[in-house]
């Protein structure tokens, strides 16, 4: 383990498998054709720190453009971080190259969002699933074929279909192929990047159940990236909420959903539609105004202050709120939660909507 002191360490009693330290991914914006000058940067991930504990599912939620997918890719070094470290079992991945990086990748895999785009349409599903084994030189041709059949069976596809092409399968079955491919090299850690958002409602539950079953059977650790908060609540042990490249709140599942502290989390949760008209009538939604600002020039201070119902002038628009542990295992980045003037919010007696209303009246 690294000696650096970091925020947001695990509290479930488990040990850390992946640690992300002050991760930043900035995509340069250039101008000119031959001599490209850098004229700005998209701050996709802007100082992210969290741990993923062995055997857990960490849900990573946020709206589109908040950097959650970039985070997943940067952890696997599919996109190289601009600064910061990604520690896998204590070893920094950000500086690994070539064979040594490939060696590590065997232990970390990814399941992609779009089962139509993420499978090569000119390869049979047997070849698609067998390719990681080939790349990592695992087993003889015969052993690989046996392994592919076994994997297909594991994900619930008839092994005799291994010579078929992706177009012969439905979206749900293709996603199962994508899952089998991720499992082929027997990884410990899988980044699931919106694995069900492209699927139909009645198929989603099948894939979620499969992912949970596989986690139990193989002791997998998941980073589950999604925008659907109901699904994340169902599958995750802990949940991190992202806004414009930063984690704004991180807590155990039950705590985050029952007692969300950050005003963004509160607004996000209140906006999730519930398929029950009786429950919908009783809700008091916090409707945010405006859109998510551009990550090219994120707002000063707290990135959320432009839309926050409780934002305080001279504080939130000036200072960056650090991600601090407010209660054991509950981390939040908000001046109104962590500041000395707001113990009643920290204690969970009031929520920030009350502060916002009180502030408006005063």
């Amino acid at each position: 383990m690294s000696g650096a002191t970091v925020d947001a360490t695990g509290t479930l009693g488990g040990d850390t498998l992946v640690r992300v330290e002050d991760l930043r991914v900035h995509f340069p914006i250039t101008s000119g054709i031959v001599f490209q000058r850098k004229i700005g940067a998209v701050h996709a991930v802007d100082g992210l720190t969290f741990d993923v504990l062995r055997g857990e599912t960490l849900g990573l939620v946020g709206e589109s453009g908040c950097g959650k997918s970039t985070t997943g890719r940067a952890i696997l070094q599919l996109i190289r971080p601009t600064t910061g470290r990604v520690l896998y079992e204590g070893g920094d991945l950000a500086h690994l190259k070539g064979t040594r990086l490939r060696e590590q990748r065997k232990r970390m895999q990814m399941i992609f969002q779009d089962p139509y785009a993420s499978l090569n349409s000119r390869m049979t599903i047997g070849d698609i699933i067998g390719e990681p084994l080939l790349v990592h030189r695992m087993g003889s041709a015969k052993e690989r074929k046996a392994k592919v059949r076994e994997l297909l069976e594991t994900v619930g596809i008839n092994p005799n279909t291994l010579n078929r092409y992706p177009h012969e399968f439905s979206g749900g079955q293709r996603q199962r192929v994508g899952i089998a491919r991720a499992l082929a090299v027997e990884p410990n850690f899988i980044v699931c990047d919106e694995p069900i958002s492209a699927l139909d409602v009645s198929i989603r539950a099948q894939i979620i159940n499969l992912l949970q079953q596989l986690q139990r059977d193989f002791g997998l650790t998941y980073l589950f990236i999604a925008h659907d908060l109901s699904v994340v609540r169902h599958i995750s042990d802990r949940v991190a909420v992202m806004y414009l490249g930063r984690v704004v709140e991180l807590a155990e599942n039950a705590i985050l959903y029952e007692n969300p502290m950050h005003p963004y989390t509160q607004a996000l949760l209140s906006a999730v539609p519930i398929p029950d008209p009786a429950a919908e009538e009783l809700r008091r939604p916090v409707v945010l105004t405006g859109d998510v600002p551009s990550p090219v020039e994120p707002p000063s201070g707290c990135h959320f202050h432009t839309r926050c119902p409780a934002a305080q002038d001279g504080l939130c628009d000036v200072q960056d709120p650090p991600l601090l542990e407010v209660r054991p295992g509950h981390w939040a980045a908000c001046h109104l939660i962590t500041g000395a003037d707001y113990p009643h919010i920290r204690a969970g007696e009031d929520d920030l909507a009350v502060v916002a209303e009180g502030g408006a009246a005063a």
């Binding site: 009645s202 989603r204 159940n209 999730v272 539609p273």
Partner: protein
């Protein structure tokens, strides 16, 4: 003017107030693999000012139904449309194109799923907004611009007067959807078809757009058909729900009782397969086994029978018709009485 066969219409809405009545609407597409039965004898009514949710998975025929109402299926060469779509006494399916064009965009308008691709990128918001106002309402360009600015303000676009010369790419996804709503409402339509209006948007923006649609439909007294796969979207917004599966309406009724106790096994399956924020976490989700059927090769009996937990021999032999169960409710299931009495809960 009303077609004679209105008995099995999937609505019990008050007579005389009916705005739209679909009678046995059928849309088939000829394809290499045989005839695809996209919409199969769909009948329902929409009352003036009513908010109706049309729910189903991709390929169930919900968008094709909407396209048929607004007369877009007539433009598809391999489509065969039959039945009747009665809108204020006129059958939209037999109306000549010029008359249809006068209704389309004025009395009936549509909001599409993807705000990024459904606004013409080379036309300014001014052109997009004023076109309908000038053509349908005969406003002068100056008046049309004035009205457009008012409408853009109404849908929540800040500094609308400064932004009217902008092009679609200068707006965010949520803002583009607002522009589309403003265009759709510009001629005070009596019926608004919203095809997955929030699917491409984030949750916080979705909440804004749904609220806006609801309040605008009240102010403009427009009926809205919200087409979606997301049961949550219609739960808080619509008064009446129509559930479609494999080209047919399998259940219809007022939202509250329908969500509380569905009378069709498919609705039960759909509701149980989505995790909810207001319920305790379960270890695993209930699933609907199998896949939706191929619309070119539908099974002879009930199309849902191969996936149904209640299916009996009867269901495999013949398809059940949509018949009344409770007040204002209908279900196309042979086991509807069992479901109505709540006898199947242990099985489900």
């Amino acid at each position: 003017m009303l077609p004679g066969v209105a008995i099995d219409s999937a609505s019990m809405s008050v007579d005389g107030n009916t705005l739209l009545r679909l009678t046995e609407l059928t849309v088939d597409f000829a394809s290499q693999e045989g005839t695809v039965h996209a919409v199969n004898r769909v009948s329902f009514d929409v009352a003036a000012g009513e908010l109706v949710g049309l729910v189903g998975e991709s390929g169930c025929g919900k968008s094709v139904t909407a396209n048929a109402i607004i007369g877009l299926t007539g433009m598809v060469p391999n489509a065969a449309v039959s039945g009747a779509i009665d809108f204020l006494g006129k059958d939209l399916l037999t109306l000549p194109e010029p008359e249809l064009r006068a209704i389309r965009g004025r009395d009936i308008s549509m909001i599409f799923q993807d705000p990024v691709t459904s606004l013409n990128p080379v036309l300014s918001i001014e052109r997009l907004m004023t076109e309908g106002l000038e053509v349908h309402l005969g406003l002068s360009h100056g008046d049309a611009v004035k009205r457009s600015i008012e409408l853009l303000g109404e849908v929540g676009i800040p500094k609308a007067a400064n932004r009217i010369k902008d092009y679609p790419h200068q707006f965010s996804g949520g803002m583009r959807q607002r522009v589309m709503i403003a265009i759709a409402l510009s001629c005070n339509p009596k019926l608004l078809l919203a095809d997955e209006p929030t699917t491409a948007l984030d949750v916080t923006i979705q909440a804004q757009i749904l609220r806006l649609l609801k309040s605008l439909s009240r102010e403009h007294e427009a009926a809205v058909i919200v087409i979606t796969h997301d049961l949550g979207v219609v739960a808080g917004m619509c008064q009446r729900i129509l559930v479609m599966y494999a080209g047919r309406i399998v259940e219809s009724g007022p939202a509250k009782p329908l969500f509380a106790r569905p009378h069709h096994p498919y609705t039960i399956g759909l509701l149980k397969s989505v995790p909810r924020l207001n319920e305790p976490r379960a270890d695993s989700l209930q699933t609907i086994m199998g896949l939706p059927p191929d619309l070119a090769h539908l099974p002879p009996g009930c199309a849902f029978a191969p996936r149904c937990f209640l299916a009996t021999d009867e269901c495999w032999a013949a398809g059940p018709e949509l018949e009344p169960t409770d007040e204002g409710r209908m279900s196309a299931c042979f086991h509807r009485d069992q479901l109505r009495a709540g006898e199947t809960e242990a099985v489900a």
